[in-house]
């Protein structure tokens, strides 16, 4: 599913941050090309 794909990891501070999504995606063979963590404070 993620093998060979470039992934935009759009996380949120009150949910799952972009960095955590990226760590997961790497184990599935995807390449995180962007990590964002939205914050609404």
């Amino acid at each position: 599913m993620f093998e060979g794909k470039r992934i935009l990891c759009i996380g949120e501070r009150d949910g799952i941050p972009g960095s955590a999504i990226a760590e997961c995606i790497k184990t599935a063979g995807g390449e995180p090309v962007l990590q964002l963590t939205q914050c609404f404070v």
Binding site: M1, F2, G4, K5, R6, I7, L8, C9, I10, G11, E12, D14, G15, I16, P17, G18, A20, I21, E23, C24, I25, T27, A28, G29, G30, V33, L34, L36, T37, Q38
Partner: protein, 104 residues
């Protein structure tokens, strides 16, 4: 979605999306936020305020809590990075709306 981030997403997709290899994985904490982000990366900024207004990127969008995403990820890493939030967030509502927009 933050206007600056919309610009970053637009630029990244323009640079990286050869052969349609770009996908989005969200980490939104609720249904409303998941809906807004999914809409923005698929059909364009629904508020018509940012660089993605009227820009339909058409990207495949998933949420990290979806079972079909989870099953591809190393279970130890998933537990470490997502496990706690998986227990407290409304997984069913969040994943339902993302899937609806992705397939809509």
């Amino acid at each position: 979605m933050d206007l600056e981030d919309q610009g970053i997403i637009k630029k990244t997709v323009e640079e990286q999306n050869e052969n349609n290899t770009v996908m989005v994985v969200l980490g939104s904490p609720d249904e409303k936020s998941a809906e807004m982000y999914s809409e923005t990366v698929k059909n364009g900024d629904p508020t018509y305020a940012g660089p993605l207004a009227g820009v339909s990127l058409g990207l495949p969008v998933y949420h990290i809590l979806e079972d079909e995403v989870k099953e591809h990820i190393d279970s130890e890493v998933y537990q470490q990075q997502v496990g706690m939030m998986e227990m407290v967030l409304d997984k069913e509502a969040i994943t339902r709306i993302v899937k609806k927009i992705r397939e809509g």
